[in-house]
Symmetry: none
Subunit: 248 residues, 2 copies
Amino acid sequence: MLKEERLAYILHQVNLHNKVLSSHLSEQIQVSEDTIRRDLAELALEGKIIKVHGGALSNSFHQGIASQDVYAVEDKKTIALKAVQLIHDGMFVLTTGGTTIAELARVLPRDLQATFITVSLPAAFEYANHPNIEVIVIGDKLSKGSKITVGGEAISKIKMIKADLCFLGNNAIDAEDGLTDNDWDVVQVKRAMISTAKKVVVLSISEKIDTSEQLKICDAEEIDVLITELPPDSKKLQPYKKKGIQIL
Amino acid sequence: MLKEERLAYILHQVNLHNKVLSSHLSEQIQVSEDTIRRDLAELALEGKIIKVHGGALSNSFHQGIASQDVYAVEDKKTIALKAVQLIHDGMFVLTTGGTTIAELARVLPRDLQATFITVSLPAAFEYANHPNIEVIVIGDKLSKGSKITVGGEAISKIKMIKADLCFLGNNAIDAEDGLTDNDWDVVQVKRAMISTAKKVVVLSISEKIDTSEQLKICDAEEIDVLITELPPDSKKLQPYKKKGIQIL
DNA sequence: TTGTTTTCTGCGTTTTTTTGCAGAAATTCA
DNA sequence: TGAATTTCTGCAAAAAAACGCAGAAAACAA
């Protein structure tokens, strides 16, 4: 059995049973416990499982305890303030989830009258704090990690909406590889949003610029606006400007 | 049982019952009291519980939550614990929102495998903490006060589901007037849920027994089970028993 | 292909963690 | 006060993890 096979099998077992014992896996896969331990350590490093003495637990086990510190809040606020300028009264706005989007929700002007449509429960909460904003939640199966709804039902609902704007958060973006992500369901949702929105806006902290993930969402050309915390004339952003993307 | 599992179990027990005895836990988990003590000490060090002679107490006990109505929370926990008994593996469960429902979500056993369908965003969050529970969010316009989705889209989605159970929280209930509420949209959603569920369960603190609101949801006869914090043979509940409602 | 480099895996040894136990000390309660 | 219960302390055994190493396997380059 190849290493990658083994890793996939272990991850599957963890997600299936919420816990695994090193000793048990070692017997099942017929490799030494040392190897299992190294595998578990690797998966834990990638954040896919939680390694504990004697085995490992599923991530969802103590999710509540997971560090909630929002990374790079200041940068995200900078991004959010730029993004807000694109939203005008009467617009229909589609948004994904993620902390950057949550930040956007917080800095919306109080007198803005618009309709926000989202698959993200945390974002919906934030939008609900604004008296003049109408919030539409897209329903479907709830993805526990990201707290967004995913699935065919959600996608067909999204496609029925003609949105003026679409804000995509939490991305890996690269001029050549385009927009990418690492969660199958999330990719489907984002694709649906892009296909139905008049203007696609990507919010990304500079750290994620020029990075790629496994799953492709769309080409760089399909993005209309890219917002980072960097100044628009920053050198790092020029490849994207060349692709015809507006930089804010 | 892994140590981390044990810690999670203990923490769950503490939050559930607000107190635990070392001796009791030792017997339940089948480890020595010494081990329990060390576990409790560890959890206390992390600030998750309060260690006392003979066992431990919940954090929320000592942290002086004067603003919150601790009394009602206790009642709601009592109700939730009764309600949990109705849920079995493989069931499809519809729920509304409200604090009693949220409490129900918190006391669900970790190994329960069921599908919860809800219009309530806070409830969805709580369900999402349970690894074995599938959460379906019903989408539509978000009602800002109650953080539940309402509207025709939501209602037609609800009606497409054949649920085994339906839990209704936050009610005014009266033997003659039946179940009533004061929010038009919420009433529509509850009606839809009642019409599609095999068994309708009303969760209500005794304070709301024998009270009525302006808008009627359904007659008392349509309710299958009524759960309050009172003992089932309480005098206050007899009129409902006469209507054919099972009292828990 | 062949040779080189890198990665992977298992094994023996050492170190750490976990757990239960016994006896002393502390706490509780009547 | 005094008896029962609980906690603390050190200790020992068992289990798991970490470490270094060497051979095997895989990837890479010429």
